[in-house]
């Protein structure tokens, strides 16, 4: 274990790694649901590629989580053998795909956060974290380029496409606050220099979002209620929506039904 691990509560580091890894896993899952069903062949390709990137990132993050945890759990163990309450992804990424506009808007709102996180993590005090982030950053930059472009095109497209994108924005914006909400875990890893405080990424995210929404001629929802940051709720704390249980029942079926089998 490196110096960073000694300096930070190990449980907090693991929990934080699960948050990053689970975001990639669950979003990757959602995106992969589109395979073969998207509006145009180019999107089938792009979405499969995006899901692939996210699953690849999840393997790295959850692999490191298992390594830091030190109890012999692999990335697959973490992905396939935890029940919903042990998942740490934000609520945003488990929102249903909805129409393609909601999928794109969800992607954009997440990508704009994800890129800031990856950039900041390149300076992590833990070299393993920095290395994964450097690799992921290139992929995420491309995801953001795509999702921002599409949000702009569809916002500034037909009346229908604009309405759909505005509706998607209004529906999803209340799930963005959780990404920037600092809790004890975030503070512990930030103090150890492993990761930035989520709140520190907010200004850059906000600038990107405002810029893109403006180009898209979409109306910023303003200050809305934000899910997952009040009371005991929130995906980062393991309190998810009813959707996650269904995602996991499907995702984990083979590992659950055939315990110990190799594939």
């Amino acid at each position: 274990m490196g110096a960073a691990v000694a300096a930070v509560d190990r449980a907090a580091f693991v929990e934080w790694l699960e948050r990053v890894g689970d975001n990639a896993l669950v979003l990757g899952h959602r995106v992969s649901e589109w395979c073969g069903h998207s509006p145009v062949l180019e999107e089938d390709i792009a979405l499969a590629n995006q899901a692939l990137d996210l699953i690849g990132q999840c393997q790295l993050w959850l692999g490191l989580a298992g390594e830091v945890e030190g109890q012999g759990r692999s990335a697959d163990n973490l992905a396939y053998l935890r029940d919903a309450a042990a998942f740490r992804n934000v609520l945003l990424v488990e929102r249903p795909n909805g129409d393609f506009g909601q999928t794109l808007m969800r992607q954009f709102l997440f990508d704009a956060f994800h890129i800031e996180l990856m950039r900041a993590l390149k300076a992590s005090s833990d070299p393993r974290v920095a290395e994964i982030a450097a690799k992921a950053e290139k992929e995420v930059a491309y995801h953001l380029e795509r999702s921002a472009d599409l949000v702009i095109s569809l916002g500034d497209g037909t009346e229908e496409s604009r309405n759909r994108m505005q509706k998607a924005l209004n529906v999803l914006y209340p799930y963005t606050g959780e990404m920037f909400h600092d809790d004890a875990t975030d503070k512990a890893v930030a103090e150890a220099g492993i990761a930035p405080l989520p709140s520190s990424l907010r200004a850059a995210w906000d600038a990107t979002v405002r810029e893109v929404l403006e180009a898209a001629t979409l109306t910023h929802p303003g200050e809305t209620y934000q899910h997952g940051i009040n009371g005991a709720g929130g995906g980062k704390r393991g309190v998810h929506s009813e959707y996650l249980g269904y995602i996991l029942a499907e995702m984990q079926f083979l590992q659950r039904a055939y315990p110990g089998a190799v594939w």
Binding site: L25, H29, S32, E33, C35, G36, H37, S38, P39, V40, L41, E42, E43, D44, I45, A48, N49, A51, L52, I55, G56, C58, Q59, L62, A75, D76, A79, Y80, D99, F100, G101, L150, I152, S153, L154, D156, G157, T158, E160, S161, R162, R164, I247, E250, M251, F253, L254, Q255, Y258, A261, V262, W263
Partner: protein, 317 residues
């Protein structure tokens, strides 16, 4: 044959490639459009049976490999629609024909994927049969088609190895349950894979013309035999039983004797009565219709951008 047609056939016989702008008989063009279009449709419909297991892939690595594979298939669709476009038909026109049921896709994709071993079997047997069909087509007479097939074959053989690898894992390192899944997949996919080469075409004039034009290189029966001969030892290595009591090595012909598939099933599936025809078509049509607003939105934006650039140029002048 007209002098033009004679000259055209001479070029083909000399092994020259025909390129988009060059003269070609109308039948050649039409046959190619049908063949390339069907192949393109097969790639995109082919995303569905495999896509069916992406969310349930048993490990993250298997999930990633399957995603990459499905992505490749969509990519093949793209190459092939582009190749067809060089013949003067647009992708949207071809898709309209597909959605209206006026063009086909490979019937194999009307079979369901029912367990994880099916994903192995699709790679090993279905891609295997496809490659058997496609490798000779790398030498097909139409340039863009030939070049597309070269790219595709490279990736397909990779997919076939990945499919076989799934079964290797399940059959050689797996539990009894996993071996049973693999055998079940074998039982369900063997004959449909054999059907992929089509009925015996020795008497078909249509096929004869295609072979003369080098749009088709081998007979269906030749390819089917080759496929069986290649596949049997692979099945043996996996410890799987091929569901054909008549399968037997024939020393004399240097290949296996085997049972014909049930061609009435083949024609039933072609006619729309396969286990998943309705679901596959519904999935594609729904994707297309639900996505109309998206395509129109992008188009409208592109037009606006073009207008703005024009206006900006005018203002600058």
């Amino acid at each position: 044959m007209t002098p033009e047609e004679n000259a055209f056939q001479d070029r083909i016989d000399r092994g020259e490639k025909i390129e988009p702008k060059e003269w070609m008989p109308e039948g050649y063009r039409k046959t190619l459009i049908r063949q390339i279009g069907q192949h393109a449709h097969s790639e995109i419909v082919g995303q569905l049976p495999e896509g069916n297991w992406i969310t349930r892939a048993p490990t993250l690595e298997r999930k990633a490999i399957l995603l990459a594979k499905v992505q490749d298939e969509a990519g093949h669709g793209l190459y092939l629609y582009s190749a067809a476009e060089t013949l003067g038909v647009s992708r949207d026109e071809l898709l309209d024909l597909l959605h209206a049921g006026k063009m086909k896709y490979s019937s194999i994709f009307n079979y369901p994927t029912l367990n994880w071993a099916d994903i192995g079997a699709v790679g090993w047997l279905v891609d295997g049969a496809a490659i058997m069909n496609q490798v000779p087509l790398q030498r097909t007479s139409y340039g863009p088609y030939s070049r597309a097939m070269i790219r595709i074959c490279k990736e397909e053989s990779f997919h076939q190895r990945q499919g076989y690898d799934i079964l290797l894992k399940m059959c050689l390192q797996g539990t009894e349950d996993q071996k049973a899944m693999a055998q079940d997949a074998m039982n369900r996919f063997w004959y449909p894979a054999l059907m992929m080469f089509g009925p015996s075409d020795k008497d078909s004039v249509h096929s004869a013309q295609s072979m003369q034009w080098k749009i088709k290189i081998n007979t269906n029966d030749e390819l089917r035999q080759k496929f069986v001969d290649q596949t049997v030892p692979q099945a043996e290595y996996l410890g799987l039983t091929i569901p054909d009591p008549n399968l037997k090595w024939n020393e004399e012909k240097g290949g296996y004797d085997f049972s014909e598939p049930d061609w009435s099933e083949f024609f039933a599936v072609i006619a729309g009565n396969g286990p998943c025809n309705a679901e596959r078509m519904e999935a594609r049509v729904t994707a297309w219709e639900d996505g109309a607003w998206f395509r129109e939105g992008l188009m409208a934006h592109a037009n606006k951008q073009a207008e703005r650039r024009k206006a900006a140029r005018h203002a600058a002048e």
